[in-house]
């Protein structure tokens, strides 16, 4: 599922994400740098061993909220293009649930835009992850 234009590429997928695909989308002869944020599944949380994660999304709204973030980023920062790819389904340790790629003429805007995008994604995009630990399962961040 996606919702794209020449500056923005949003992807919500059950398949493995591609850093190369993100880089290719944001590449442009007019840009001087590309910043990638690549999220990876960590093997531990709060001192407990993590076995795997399971991501679920309210798909249409997850895509529209990711698109909103991308549009704000394009408007607010002096950047050329942004790709936001998010994976759903079961992921093992070291696998990649999210990639954000931002290209810009100058690096400062690219770094700032990328940071804003991942921080906002974690607050607004309706995607949930369940951690499978050795002693049970827990919906991340659901309860204090």
């Amino acid at each position: 599922m996606s919702n794209n234009n020449i500056h923005i590429e949003i992807l919500l997928s059950e398949k493995e994400l591609s850093l190369n695909a993100c880089q290719q989308f944001v590449s442009d002869d007019g840009v001087g740098g590309i910043v990638h944020f690549v999220g990876t599944v960590r093997n531990n949380t709060k001192g407990k061993k993590v076995l795997k994660l399971d991501f679920e999304a309210y798909k249409p709204m997850a895509i529209s909220e990711m698109k909103k973030i991308a549009e704000i980023v394009i408007e607010r920062y002096d950047i050329a293009k942004i790709a936001i790819h998010h994976r759903i389904g079961a992921l093992g340790i070291g696998e990649i649930p999210v990639i954000i790629a931002v290209s810009a003429a100058h690096r400062v805007a690219a770094f700032e835009a990328c940071q804003y995008a991942i921080d906002t994604l974690k607050e607004t995009v309706p995607i949930w992850k369940k951690e499978y630990l050795e002693d049970g399962e827990v919906w991340v961040s659901a309860t204090p």
Binding site: K129, W139, S141
Partner: protein, 80 residues
């Protein structure tokens, strides 16, 4: 009126399913739905937050619901 709600994440476990119908008075708002959920399912009070999406956008507390709306429970998100 009967409003159909969809549940994601931990709310699916609290309500015991992905899809539920809730009986509300005509003209009820998002705020009314939230307090009805809290009364019926006390486990909702354990959540850090609960937002309600109406027709694929976050709905504010005053938004009036109808039977035709797609109403979705959004517990604290944890993507990324």
């Amino acid at each position: 009126m009967r409003v159909k709600i969809l549940c994601f994440g931990i709310t699916k476990e609290i309500l015991g399913g992905f899809e539920k119908e809730i009986e509300l008075e005509e003209g009820s708002t998002v705020e009314v739905l939230k307090s009805k959920l809290l009364d019926t399912y006390p486990d909702f009070s354990k959540l850090k937050s609960l937002r309600i999406a109406v027709n694929e956008a976050y709905g504010n507390e005053e938004l009036v619901l109808t039977e035709r709306d797609e109403v979705v429970l959004i517990p604290p998100v944890s993507g990324g």
